[in-house]
Amino acid sequence: MSTETKEKLRYERPMIRKMNAGLMNKFGTRTEYQPTSHIDTVPVKRIIEQYGSPCFVISERTIRKTYQSALRAFKTRYPKVQFAWSYKTNYLDAVCKVFHQEGAWAEVVSGFEYEKAIRNGVPGNKILFNGPDKSIAELKQAIENESTIHIDHFDELYDLIEIVETSKKKAKVAIRVNMDVGVYPMWDRFGFNYESYQAWNAITKIMNCEKMDLVGLHCHIGTFMLTAGAYGIAASKLCDLAVNIKAKWNKTIQYLDLGGGFASTNTLRGSYLPGNDISPSFDDYAEIITSTILNYGFKQEDLPLLMLETGRALIDDAGYLVGSVLANKRLSDGRRATIMDFGVNILFTAFWYEHKISPAQEFTHHSEDMVVFGPLCMNIDKVRESVNLPLLNRGDQVVVHKVGAYNMTQWMQFIAMRPNVVMIDMKGEVHLIRKNETIDTLTDLESIPEHLKTFKF
């Protein structure tokens, strides 16, 4: 019901729906929708007025709350826990800084991310340097800064052996281990394989090099892992390596890094059950990981630090995308289509998730099944294949939920520009944390050869 105009009623597109009793479609009959008129006490309408549509909105409160609950799940079960913020998940500086304020180190996978962490003021020895692509210069810098280098492959290991010959400092290293944890397809393209003794072989080479200090063992078994049990297997395989290293060289491994991969509460595309119902909780993951390590038989003084590089599960909930309805149409088969002013260009995760979308204003109880399209002139630009939503009018505002992970890093500048990103702080104040791009952002990088500067028709 409209509260803005007293004389006229709020308009809603005329709609009839056939009632076929008892028949339930694949999407259920649930219309769980409540309008999301506010994000952390700030009216969506005001955000769009000030920052335009679409616009990403990040809740600082939710980041902190989520981080603290994840930390609590592990700290109440295990004495030594450290999170390292996975930069690639969302490397907007303001977001990283919230995590660093909460105590998270930085986990980076490229020279660019490494630079960002340094600029954000993270001390070198609190940066974990992952990934298959580290240049010689970057490796040297990491050694100089006492960052831990997580070695990915033998070529990198040989590079390091060569570099440390002439460097003053020892290289602090860990190896990334890949392994069979009963989840397929197995992620074996990164790191050294456990089952084939490749990992042990790499460890032996490192232990034989005096100028390398093996401080940790790392794995990242996959992403959006719906079975917490896989982490139990991963933890026990890392423990096995640590115990064997102790036995053979009397060397204590300082930390075991279980990587990222915890599922967020988003719903995967094609899943019949909502993510809320099937994603394991932080407690579920923590229980299996910590009990595996605690029961492995380490001496108290050898108990390794548990390192975690959780990405999406820490940030998904804190991100929202607010946008507007550009148009409604009817497809040739009678289905409804709604065209939004945001698409897969900025909402990359629409390829993986059935994102929850809520209207930002009041609506009636009528709803309809629809396809939600983005604004791109491209067939792939589908935000939701089929979703039951209240009737939306042109210009209505909507909120897409749980978009904090990977969108603000994997978004594409394609056809349209990337929009503003704002953060709502603990007091409910809104801060612009990334300005929208303009045509100049792009054309400033271009140059035109002299002979192409003019033309006539």
């Binding site: 009623l9 709609m15 056939k18 009636t364």
Partner: protein, 83 residues
């Protein structure tokens, strides 16, 4: 376009087609349109009435109305005899 004359429509938006037993729920705007159609109002009169009652632009009504009539047709709610 004419709506089937024997369609029953309640104030709450419940629609019943006695010819084939189909029933429908409709929202307020749809109920208004059907009621006016049953009173033999012309499409212009109906659009005017909607514009007077609802906070909406004429162009939006124009488009939605045409689409809605199509939807009525798809659901066998329009009379096929005459225009």
């Amino acid at each position: 376009m004419k709506i089937l004359t024997n369609i029953a429509v309640s104030e709450s938006g419940y629609l019943f087609n006695p010819t084939n037993g189909d029933s429908f729920s409709s929202n307020l705007v749809a109920t208004d349109i059907i009621t006016l159609m049953k009173q033999n109002k012309t499409s212009d009169e109906i659009k005017k009435a909607l514009h007077a009652k609802y906070d909406v632009e004429k162009s939006t009504i124009e488009r939605d109305y045409d689409e809605f009539i199509q939807e009525l047709g798809d659901n066998y709610l329009l009379s096929t005899d005459g225009k």
